[in-house]
């Protein structure tokens, strides 16, 4: 099937051979999601309002919704691509790059967010620093959403391509139309319902995929043997990481791309574990919102902590299939061995991003295949819809209403919002073609997070704990942080794809870690220097925004002391921390 180059044909042979049963399973999922969305929009029952207000939702639901909002493109395709390319060190994205930050969010930041009632990142920036930082942040946030929507759209398009065999550009347009109809039909208004459903469907399809995959290669022992044999036999030109680096998580040189094991550990712990992951998890309000909907500070704090428990085990469901794919699927073996097999989900040659889809094609029977497709479509669709909506909000309210046309009617801004949604979907088609230039989508995403999240985290954290930080420092720090990360990526070997100059000898995700760390350090330093020579805001305006100016009783839940220990925040966070340490030593 892949021996022929199917590029020129308008409808090449589909990569995945789905039958009526698979399509039925996909259709059932859409019927559920859209059905709930329509009911929620019309409020056909007060039960719906009751659930959507979140106050009824038990902690397991908000916890699952919290990680499910993130269980999209990044996790599923990116992590399996990474697993196929570099193996086990990918677990650092979970055990170093997510869990500590989620616990930090629950223990330190959440009471603060919950108490200050800030509803979005630009809103925090406006109240803490005023116009300058707000404008910089709103523009860069809107821009980042468009780029990330492109990543989701690209992955969605690649599934449509794999199913129907249409060329990528057509698949992208179809996928964009699917997302637009999902938004218009109300799929987003019941976001919490969808996220929880999505979580179960994804686990229900990835668990059998992992188990069957491991069964096919002879268990975990067999997988290790095959990876070792492959790494030993691979030609030097293919740059396959040695088996020891693919099968041990530390020091993770295959991930960071650093030659020195010491600097690799530093890069992973500081770049990924601190700057990138704290930046991502603590300032990502699409996720923080899930927690803020809950009924008390205690419940809000527990949301990310409860989410941390399933999150610890997600890597087994996404990385193992990637690793299996690299030794079982013909095209992936060829690719990893330095070849350039034709075909793939994009139709422009097989990439690491295809690891999961190709494994599904090879080992899932029809039926389970449909379940897996439903899960993937759901995740990317919801992910892109969330990006588009976040863009829409920031564009209509933070940019258009505040800076361009003030004081118009609600209807006016709703119209602007609808135009923004349509425009963002169109733009995403172009940013999706940008994303398609990267063989491993994870490289691209980490680069983007370095540009946008790392400086944001620096400004956030400094502004939150240092009341002397001035409004000027806010916008200077943010913009210089982003610019310095862009500069590093541009000078590295490949963080920008082909646009990078190769002046700094860094490649892969190590380059993104360095770019992010640079952004963080530059942002902090410049913010401190600028704060020294400019005028701070009066302390009275900082209540609820700066730690030292916020009354302690706003930050704790008086009822928590009376709960049993397993319902309290700190013991739960302690257990999660110990478990993640054990996992780090075990692998």
């Amino acid at each position: 099937m892949t021996a022929l180059a199917p590029l020129a044909l308008p409808a090449a042979t589909p990569l995945i051979d789905a039958n009526w049963l698979d399509y039925t399973l996909v259709a059932i999922y859409f019927a559920f999601v859209l059905g709930i969305g329509v009911m929620a929009r019309r409020s056909v029952s007060d039960s719906i309002d009751f659930f959507l207000s979140g106050r009824s939702l038990p902690a397991w639901v908000t916890g699952l919704a919290f990680i499910s909002a993130n269980l999209g493109a990044v996790e599923i395709m990116g992590m399996s691509a990474n697993g196929a390319e570099i193996g086990l060190p990918t677990v650092h994205y979970f055990w170093v790059g997510a869990i500590p930050a989620m616990l930090f969010l629950g223990v330190v930041m959440m009471p603060f967010y919950y108490g200050s009632k800030v509803r979005s990142v630009p809103e925090f920036m406006f109240r803490r620093f005023g116009t300058g930082a707000h404008l910089v942040n709103a523009i860069s946030f809107a821009f980042a959403q468009l780029l990330i929507a492109g990543v989701n759209l690209y992955l969605l398009g690649s599934i449509v391509h794999a199913l129907l065999g249409w060329p990528l550009w057509l698949a992208l347009i179809v996928a964009a139309a699917i997302v637009l109809s999902y938004i218009t039909l109300g799929g987003l208004s019941a976001a919490i319902y969808n996220e929880v459903l999505q979580f179960f469907v994804i686990v229900a399809s990835l668990l059998p995929l992992t188990l069957i995959g491991l069964h096919r290669v002879g268990g975990y022992g067999g997988l290790k043997d095959k990876i070792t044999a492959f790494a030993d036999a691979a030609p030097a030109g293919a740059k396959v990481a040695p088996a020891a680096q693919q099968l041990e998580s530390w020091p993770g040189q295959a991930l960071s791309g650093f030659d020195s094991p010491f600097w690799s550990v530093v890069g992973i712990v500081f770049g990924l574990g601190f700057v990138l992951s704290f930046g991502y998890w603590t300032t990502n309000f699409v996720e923080v919102q899930r927690a803020m909907a809950s009924k008390s500070i205690s419940a809000a704090r527990k949301t990310p902590i409860i989410g941390a428990f399933p999150k610890m085990f997600v890597p087994f469901l996404v990385i193992f299939p990637g690793m299996v794919s690299a030794v079982l699927v013909k095209e992936m073996i060829d690719l990893k061995g330095g070849g350039h097999p034709a075909g793939g989900a994009s139709g422009e040659g097989v990439k690491y991003n295809d690891a999961l889809l190709l494994l599904m094609r090879d080992i899932l029977p029809n039926g389970l295949l449909g379940l897996a497709i439903a899960g993937l479509l759901a995740a990317f669709m919801a992910g892109m819809a969330a990006n588009i909506s976040a863009f829409n909000t920031v564009f209509s309210y933070d940019l258009w209403q505040r800076y361009i046309r003030k004081d118009h009617s609600d209807d006016y801004y709703l119209r602007i919002g609808r135009l923004a949604t349509a425009a963002a979907t169109l733009i995403a088609i172009f940013t999706a073609t940008l994303a398609s230039n990267f063989s491993n989508i994870m490289d691209y995403l980490q680069t983007l997070f370095g540009f946008f999240n790392a400086p944001l985290f620096a400004t956030f954290i400094l502004g939150m704990f240092w009341k002397r930080m001035t409004p000027t420092a806010g916008w200077v720090g943010l913009s210089s942080g982003t610019l310095s990360a862009v500069l590093v990526a541009f000078l590295s070997e490949d963080a920008f794809g082909s646009a990078s100059q190769g002046v700094i000898p860094l490649s892969g995700q190590g380059a993104s870690f360095v770019a992010a760390s640079t952004a963080f350090v530059v942002d902090i330093l410049l913010s401190i220097v600028v704060s020294m020579v400019t005028q701070p805001k009066p302390a009275s305006e900082l209540k609820g925004l700066v730690y030292s100016e916020t009354p302690r009783e706003d930050l704790v839940d008086p009822e928590e002391a009376s709960m049993p220990w397993f319902q309290r925040t700190m013991p739960l966070a302690g257990i999660a921390l110990v478990m993640v340490l054990i996992l780090n030593f075990a692998f």
Partner: protein
């Protein structure tokens, strides 16, 4: 319309079970339907064991999902969530606004 509904449910002894809108019922029915369909596929369709390495994957996943779905339905049945008599209508989530409810008036 929603006013009437609130009134009538307030009269009815202040509260009723969430019924079909309980999230556990929704999860349970989706997983249950999937489970039964895969179970059928495992029993009556080509099991494609060359792909799975000799395992009837549809059958086993179907069984697992059916059980999981039943557990969720049973859980919701045994410990129903009571919706209080007065439910504030939710505002739109400002981070995920897409289709907004019509703002008041007409």
């Amino acid at each position: 319309m929603s006013d009437k509904k609130n009134e009538s449910s307030a009269k009815a002894s202040g509260g009723h079970t969430a019924g079909a809108f309980d999230i556990r019922n929704i999860i349970g029915s989706l997983l249950g339907i999937y489970g039964l369909l895969l179970l059928m596929a495992g029993l009556f369709m080509d099991t494609q064991e060359a792909k799975t390495g000799g395992v009837n994957a549809n059958l086993w996943t179907g069984l697992g999902l059916t059980v999981a779905g039943a557990v969720f339905l049973l859980w919701a049945r045994l410990k129903p969530i009571i919706v209080p008599a007065d439910v504030e209508p939710v505002g739109d989530d400002p981070t995920r606004p897409a289709p907004r409810r019509r703002p008041g008036g007409h």
